[in-house]
Amino acid sequence: MRAALLGVSLAAVAIMTAADGVAQTRPASPGGAPVAPPRMPDGKPDLNGRWGGGGAGAGGAGGVQAIEPDGRVHQFDHYSEYSEALAAGRVSREAKIIGRQPNYRHGNNVYSERDAGFTQRAFGNPPLYKPGFWERVQYLDENGNKEDTTFSCFPPGVPRLGPPMRIVQTSRDVVLMYQNRNMWRVVPIDGRPHDPENAADQTFNGDAVGTWEGDTLVIDVVGFNDVSWLGWPGWFHTNNMRVVERFRREGNTLHYQATVHDPEVLMEPWETDPRALPLNTSDRPYIEDPPCLDFDLEHMLTRERG
């Protein structure tokens, strides 16, 4: 019965893919059974696509509001829409413009920082450090303004980089593209072992090779530096860390999760919170992520960062 249902949903995926080029609708998952992914000519799951927010900015969080002196509120997605309304006389020149305010509280940078910091500490999924290393975690957290190298514009590194916004796949490799600093990684998936030289190097994204375990693409990464962190609250790692990233497509959802093996400092492997990214069928142009330049550190007088 389950096989039959799976067959039906497979057929549905095949039909939609054929009809639209890219399936627009997320196929149903009858009885919670995994929905088969579309496949490449070589039979492997097709991970090609723009995933999640997809690298076109904040993705509609916020927008532009114009608030009239009498309290009426106009909501626009884009400043150009506001400009048109102003030119057409639908908004008065006296209306106050509010840019990029997704909601009341989190439009305030201080509150949003505090809330995010509190949430990560209170509800986060911290790596389980061995006894003797927690003091270092606490020190780094309390002094994150100076110690967290992403504050001085260093790359976040794997796995803090998170899942890619775009995947290009061939039978030999996958190209993982990130909005963050316009970063890209090319990962061989032809079964080769780690490059011995790169695997002994110390880099932010490490040396990565991928293999298929069934329909899951498993990417093994070694050769890290010990500069990057695993997460914002002082979660450091050593340069002997190994990261295993898992990519699995179900229907039009990409599941991503990473496991960090760092037995020198961790009691057990750390599993990142799983991410589920919907296929993004937007054809909006990608925006460039501008370079990061730090001007702030010398002006930070307190340790507060949330």
């Binding site: 993705g59 305010q101 940078n109 963050n180």
Partner: protein, 134 residues
Amino acid sequence: MRYSLAGAAILGAVLGAAAEARAHHAVQAAFDQDDHVTITGVLTKVLWINPHVRWFLDVKDDSGNVTTWTISGAGPGGFRDIGISGRDVFKTGQTYTAIAARARDGSPNGYILTFILPDGRKIDLWHQYKSEPK
């Protein structure tokens, strides 16, 4: 595990896609949101860079001395997404007024709350929570 899943959901809601972009950079450590400074000057440069956008304003005092103020804002991605990075909004050579959170170290730096454009319109880039309307 239940807690960490709940945490993931809350975090996702709070940070959204921003989690993997760049976090805010401890705004409160450098700027005092309760101490506002209002400056008026000629916009000489805008840098749409990470992690914070920078506006540079040349401010002339009564004796004619010019001080260059650096005003920061949020990251460029959100501004670009809603079109505020357009060249029709910030024009170098024109006079802008910035209401900003003052730098704690007394340097000519601020974190932008509200811009007053050359034509008098106001653009608010930071909710002040206590007094601002929803």
